[in-house]
Every structure is written in C-alpha cells, then in structure tokens.
C-alpha cells in the first residue's frame, strides 16, 4: 500500500513524517543525520533514496544519504570542495535529484554533481563569466548568510536543461548540461539599483507548472509568472497581503494553480498579523484565495523558508509546510483545510514529499 513520507530538514537533523495515502494519521521518526543542521532533504524517486544537505559547525558540509527510507544513513563530502586556492565551501544550500544524478548548489556559489548516489562529487561550474560573477562571492557585497546557490530546478524531460538560482542575483538557465548559461530575469522587479539589468534580482523560490513550460517564482519583490520557461516574467502579486515571502509550490496537475506563503517583509519575516495562511491562485495569478482553515489565526508569528512548502503530487494533491518554529502542517485537500502533523520539531528549513509503495 502506498505511503506518504514528508521529509523535514531541520536545524537539528532530518525527520520523516509518515502516513498512508489517506493522510490522516501521521507518525514521526528522527532525528537523523546525527542532529546536523539540514538545509534541504530530498527524495530521489528513481532510486528510492533520501539525500540531505547538511553542515556541521565542527565537521563541515556534506550530503547524507539513506537508501532504506531512513533506517541507516551515510555521510560523504568527497569532492565537495573548491580546493585550497578556490572558493570556501561553507554549506550545501540546495539539492536536486533527477535523471540519474544528484545536483548540489553550494555556498560560495557553485554547482556540484554526483552520478554515484552522492558518494562522490564533481564540481560542475562556478558560473564563471556570467554577469554578477565578480561580486556574488564577496561578503562585503552580500549580507551574511546571503551567499550561495540554493535553488535548483531540473527539467523533467531534458536532463541537459535546468535552472539555478544565485542568491541576490537571479536565475540562470543551461540547456547543454552546464556548458553554457544565460540569465533569465527579464521582467522581474528590484527595489535597489542594478549594475546590470540582466541580474541583481532576489529570487527566493522557482517552481515549474505541470505543463513544463510555465514557471512561477516567489521573489523578494513580488510573485511572478513566466509563460515561456523563464524568458520573460510578469508580476502577479496583486491581491496578496505582502509582496514578500520565501516558499512557493506549483499545483502538480493544474498549470493555473500555484501557492505562496506571504510574510511581512521587515526583520520579522513572519506571517502578517500573526495569522497563518497559505495563498492560492487558480487562475495563474489573476486572483488569490486565502487558505487558513485549521491554521492558527492569532499570535502565530511563524515563518516559512524557501524550501518549506511542498506537494505530494497525488490525484487530490496534499500540501505541506514546515515553520521556522518547528511545526509541520498538512492539507489533504489541495490546501482547503490544514492539520498540524508535528508540533515540536526543531526549526524547519525544508519540506519535501515522497510517495512510495
């Protein structure tokens, strides 16, 4: 019988939340990864393997893997280095598993690939020659903790085509497996001066609609839609309570449906007015619906980070989000109503969902 496994990457390890496909009763296993801070945990459906990007303050960055759904874990960082004379690799910010390989985005900015299930890694690119490359690893030009390549989006059919997000600079696309790149930020908005109109945009989360052509993104400055795979962008923020947020997810079956979690843009970066809500559009951003049934509606000053919202992809898709204060909420009805399925985890950095037999 199929089971749903929610992978929660937290400040103190990875946790697995499990249910049958009714998604009513949940159990929690963990913490895994020896309690290392986990920035992004993903499931590779092709190999039924879990990968978790982690960084220990003492022992450095690496990627944990489990081929038995969390029963046993191994850590490797072999090849995850820029060498003695290169950039400093402080953490792996984002993972993507597709087409028989695992991609890892790093801080400082670089992209590594593994073709042996995250046992060994090879540096694919540091995006040399791209606009912004001279500045984006310079801490004096980026605030602390604001460096790296956290966003990776693989094309579901074309293994040579994927998108990478450099924090504070924007989206870059390759169609030749990383040999060449092009910025894909036209039409985006920035509330600061730009040296180059092609880059300098703060893309928080990039996702793809099920038609494999439309993209959506939550940006530091608004929510945006692209109907030409990132060649151009149109802002669709109107109707949302804030133009700021981190997390976003596309509906797995309907190209016009898309979800975000707006946050206050100031230092707090929590849900507006202490009232938790996910917002959904069913018309590609022309209008937005507040989804809050079952969510805390007072004194809920909770945040959700860029990888904190995900879907299970089932016929009636479930939606899940994890908070910076350790709650995980689930919806089995496309976001119409929500239930807290874990209340006291460490702060959640990432949520991904696997459906397994």
């Amino acid at each position: 019988m199929a089971r749903v496994i929610v992978l929660a990457g937290t400040r103190k390890g990875c946790f697995l939340l499990e249910s049958d496909v009714d998604r009513r009763e949940w159990s929690v296993r963990g913490p895994f990864c020896e309690g290392w801070p986990v920035y992004h945990a993903v499931h590779d459906a092709e190999t039924d393997t879990i990968y978790a990007a982690a960084a220990s303050e003492w022992h450095g960055a690496g990627v944990w893997r489990s081929a038995d759904r969390g029963e046993t874990w191994e850590l490797s960082s072999e090849g995850l280095t820029y060498g003695a004379d290169g950039l400093k690799l402080s953490k792996i910010s984002g993972l993507n598993a597709a087409h028989g390989r695992v991609l890892a985005g790093a801080e400082g900015v670089g992209l590594f690939e593994s073709r042996d299930g995250a046992r060994t890694w090879t540096l694919m690119t540091t995006l040399d020659g791209q606009p912004g490359r001279g500045d984006w690893n310079d801490p004096s030009k980026q605030p602390p903790g604001h460096l790296g390549l956290p966003g990776l989006l693989a094309h579901p059919d074309d293994p040579d085509r994927f998108w990478a997000v450099v924090q504070g600079y924007g989206i870059f696309e390759t169609t030749d497996d990383g040999a060449s790149w092009a910025p894909r930020n036209r039409g985006l908005r920035a509330e600061w001066p730009l040296d180059d109109p092609e880059v300098g945009y703060c893309v928080h989360k990039l996702v793809m609609a099920p038609d494999k052509t439309r993209l959506y993104q939550q940006n530091h400055c608004g929510v945006h839609r692209s109907d030409d795979a990132g060649q151009s962008w149109t802002e669709i923020t109107e109707g949302l309570p804030s133009d700021f947020g981190f997390a976003a997810v596309a509906h797995p079956h309907d190209r016009d449906s898309f979800y975000v979690i707006p946050l206050d843009a100031g230092h707090g970066r929590t849900m507006p007015d202490g009232r938790a809500a996910v917002w959904r559009t069913r018309d590609a951003g022309a209008s937005w619906q507040r989804l809050d049934r079952g969510l805390p509606e007072r004194d809920a000053y909770i945040g959700v980070l860029r990888e904190g919202l995900a879907t299970d992809g089932l016929d009636v898709p479930g939606m899940y989000f994890g908070t910076s204060t350790g709650q995980v909420f689930a919806s089995a009805d496309e976001g119409d109503s929500w239930t807290e399925i874990a209340g006291y985890l460490p702060g959640v950095a990432s949520i991904e969902v696997a459906v397994v037999d």
């Binding site: 020896e34 220990s56 303050e57 003492w58 450095g60 690496g62 072999e78």
Partner: protein
C-alpha cells in the same frame, strides 16, 4: 604509538571508530592520515582545504595547542576537541 582521543561527535559518523585509539604517527597530519586510511572521509571532518584544521576543531599534543605539522612523539597524547559552541 600515540594515544589519540576523539570528540564524541566523530564515532557516530564512522562505524567502528572508537573514542580512543593508538596510532603510529610522526605528526598530527600523519595521525589524521592513518585514521583516514581506516575510516575514509574522516580527514574531511577535521580538516578543510589547505589543508588546515577546521575552525572549530582544536588539537592538543601533550596538552599543548597543536597544528597539523606539530610533531608527535612515542607515547604522546593527542586530544582532538570540538569547540564548545552551539545551542
């Protein structure tokens, strides 16, 4: 043989690695290499490119602060200590 004492955060990462063990080595770097031979990947957990010790890993040889090139004598005690940090 030097007596090497490891922090409690290391053995969970490497099956069979004890907290304390005897190592035949002439320097801290040499001792880490001997350990890495038996538990591949251990060097990366203690060192970063350079190589140098990671910022929050401290090594003491016979109670004196040490670096990778610090010599180890027969009968030395080598303490590898993770910084008191975190929360």
């Amino acid at each position: 043989m030097a007596a090497v004492h490891l922090p409690p955060t290391l053995p969970p990462l490497f099956p069979g690695l004890p907290r304390q063990l005897e190592v035949e080595a002439t320097s801290v770097d040499d001792a880490i290499e001997r350990l890495n031979e038996n538990w591949p990947g251990l060097r990366d957990r203690l060192c970063e490119p350079g190589p140098v010790l990671r910022p929050h890993i401290n090594v003491f040889v016979d109670r004196e602060r040490a670096a990778l090139d610090t010599a180890i004598g027969a009968g030395s005690r080598v303490d590898v200590i993770a910084a008191i940090s975190g929360g």
